[in-house]
């Protein structure tokens, strides 16, 4: 599949007026949480800010990363861990990036095959609608059972090594006494191949963004067991990321883009526009999926499995409300602590300081100054992950972490607490 410049074929050639405007090209992956980009481009929000926003549909996160690095894209929708990995040079390529806008919070879910769910229900006494920790302990019981029977470990799919999906899955498993590096196998699988992999038995479950969980449910293959919103109520998911150089060289264009995205996000998060948004996302240029399925994530009305009724998951996907677009620095540090915890990166105090410079609430706020955005009221504890067990990166209850590593996580967390109070 080659990339499609969506705006070109939906809106026709650029008008004379548009030709005089600066153009910015952003890459995206067709997932429900590309909504803000789609709206900004298609509904004229970018144009009203004096820029032409072109979107380029991409097939892999590696592709997005490389095309930004090669200058084929000005920036992109990225997984929140990607700008951190790129800035620190963890995955081959070192490229300083800025993430001045959060495109979505939450939006992922963990799905297991119908067969695995039946085993879990039996082993863990599940009754449907169980809390994340109860489901996790049921999974652990099945893993123990399989081990005594000498069966190979279960395989779970996720979308990228530096994805929130990877860290959510690992965090949830570890909190439930499952060592994600020993008790199960984790494999990167592109979202469009997840459902097929479940059908063919290559994976027993996965963590992916919508609509892929719901598509697995609709195919009668799996059951959604946990949503990201239940693990971490307001966790960052996709960020707008641009090379540091672009932010320095074209601050006005970046500011215009942030304003356009902010207005688009407000529009997209308004239930009054839900059906229009769903129709837009269902188009072949975006998700090319049934509108009724896309709607589930936006309404937070998830169908866990057929023939069960829809279950309300508050904040399943948050696009704007309660300061969702403001990049939270402490969450960047949390992601870094997970990279350290799961041995993707060594822990350096200097790196942790660098991480503080990637998510940029200051750039976001400067762009919007004078706009309608308001800081969340004090006491709204958005940025603390919630889970079956309270979040604690230093927790010694995670059995496979040796004391040295706990110290590392504690060091990162300490930096976050000491320096992050301002955020």
């Amino acid at each position: 599949m080659s990339d499609t410049t969506v705006s070109d074929h939906t809106c026709g050639p650029l008008s004379l007026d548009e030709r005089s405007l600066p153009t910015i090209t952003l890459g995206f992956i067709p997932l429900t949480d590309c909504a803000v980009l789609a709206v900004a481009s298609e509904l004229g929000f970018a144009h009203r800010q004096g820029i032409v926003l072109r979107l380029s549909r991409e097939v892999s996160w590696a592709n997005i990363r490389d095309k930004v690095a090669f200058g084929l894209l000005d920036g992109a929708q990225m997984l929140a861990g990607m700008p951190i990995a790129a800035t620190l040079g963890i995955n081959q390529l070192r490229m300083p990036m800025l993430a001045p806008f959060c495109l979505s919070r939450n939006g992922n879910a963990i799905t297991v095959s119908s067969g695995l769910y039946r085993e879990m229900a039996l082993a863990g006494g599940l009754r449907g609608n169980d809390a994340p920790c109860v489901v996790g302990h049921a999974l652990r019981a099945v893993i123990d059972e399989h081990r005594t029977q000498g069966r190979p470990p279960l395989t779970f799919g996720m979308v990228y090594p530096f994805s929130c999906h990877n860290y959510e899955l690992r965090y949830w498993m570890a909190a439930c006494g499952i060592d994600p590096d020993i008790d199960v196998r984790l494999a990167v699988i592109p979202p469009p191949l997840m459902v097929d992999s479940l059908r063919d038995g290559y994976v027993d479950g996965f963590c992916v963004g919508e609509p892929w969980n719901s598509l697995a449910v609709e195919a009668g293959l799996g059951q959604i067991i946990v949503s990201k919103a239940e693990i971490w109520r307001h966790g960052v998911e996709k960020m707008l990321c641009v090379p540091y150089a672009l932010a320095v060289e074209k601050p006005d264009i970046l500011a215009a883009l942030i304003r356009a995205l902010d207005e688009a996000a407000a529009w997209a998060d308004d239930p009054a526009h839900r059906s229009e948004l769903v129709e837009l996302l269902a188009m072949p240029a975006y998700l090319n999926a049934p509108a009724a399925i896309i709607e589930r994530a936006l309404n937070g009305a998830m169908v866990p499995a057929r023939p069960l009724a829809a279950r309300s998951v508050p904040d399943f996907l948050v696009l704007h409300r309660e300061g969702a677009n403001r990049p939270p620095v402490d969450q960047a540090l949390w992601l870094y602590s997970q990279m350290v915890r799961w041995q993707q990166s060594a822990c350096h105090r200097g790196d942790a300081q660098l991480v503080r410079q990637i998510f940029r609430p200051d750039v976001y706020e400067a762009a919007l100054r004078g706009g309608a955005w308001q800081a969340p009221a004090p006491g709204q504890d958005w940025d603390v992950p919630e889970s079956a067990t309270a979040f604690d990166p230093t927790s010694s209850s995670v059995p496979h972490l040796d004391p040295g590593q706990i110290d590392i996580a504690a060091a990162v967390a300490a930096i976050a607490v000491a320096d992050g109070a301002s955020d």
Binding site: M1, S60, N63, F70, G71, L93, V159, P190
Partner: protein, 197 residues
């Protein structure tokens, strides 16, 4: 370089693109060429072929899978060549300048296949050598730290001088035909178990 016995794996769904690549490779003298057209369960399929070099399209969604495989397991790490269907000099130059890894972006012409493979393999070897040097340097540092820690424990517990503590470990390592690092690790582990570190 240009070893005709290399097994080359083409990961490509499109039969026409795969045919161009395969023809280019045969023209370049390579004869062990295999292809995966179905991306499902990629890891097992790659292990079954056990290729020396992998060639994959830039726009293939399974690139993320491939990257993770190589991050996780050193045993399956292979040089990867990438290609795109467009011939765009600026892109090629940007890719090379970025020094991303062992891959080159170029238009898909069969004449271009051989140089891409050659560059890929040579870059991979350079990259791997650097990686190995890095790992060795880290391990050496770790070993030194471990030995220092063990020395400190022995000095405290056995009331030895620094040189004596070192000699004791060294003698033990020689008599047991084990590495000094292993002995040091045992000392540290024992101290941890008995809560005296």
């Amino acid at each position: 370089m240009g070893d005709p016995n290399l097994t080359i794996l083409i990961i490509e769904e499109n039969a026409v693109r795969a045919a161009i690549l395969e023809e280019g490779m045969r023209d370049a003298g390579y004869c062990h060429i295999q292809r995966i057209a179905d991306m499902a369960n990629l890891l097992n399929k790659i292990c079954a072929v056990d290729p020396d070099v992998i060639v994959i399209g830039l726009e293939n969604p399974s690139r993320d899978t491939l990257e993770q495989m190589f991050q996780v397991s050193r045993s399956v790490r292979r040089p990867i060549a990438m290609f795109v269907d467009i011939s765009d000099t600026a892109t090629i130059e940007a890719a090379v300048d970025a020094g991303v890894s062992a891959y080159v972006v170029d238009g898909l012409k069969k004449e271009r296949v051989r140089p891409i493979l050659d560059v890929t393999i040579s870059r991979f070897h350079v990259f791997r050598r650097l990686q190995e040097e890095l790992v060795q340097a880290r391990e050496a540092l770790e070993a030194r730290k471990m030995i220092e820690r063990a020395k400190g424990i022995l000095m405290k517990q056995q009331n030895l001088g620094e040189q004596e503590a070192y000699s004791l470990m060294r003698r033990t390592a020689m008599s047991q035909k084990r590495k000094l690092y292993d002995i040091a690790q045992s000392v540290v582990t024992a101290a941890q178990m008995f809560g005296q570190s």
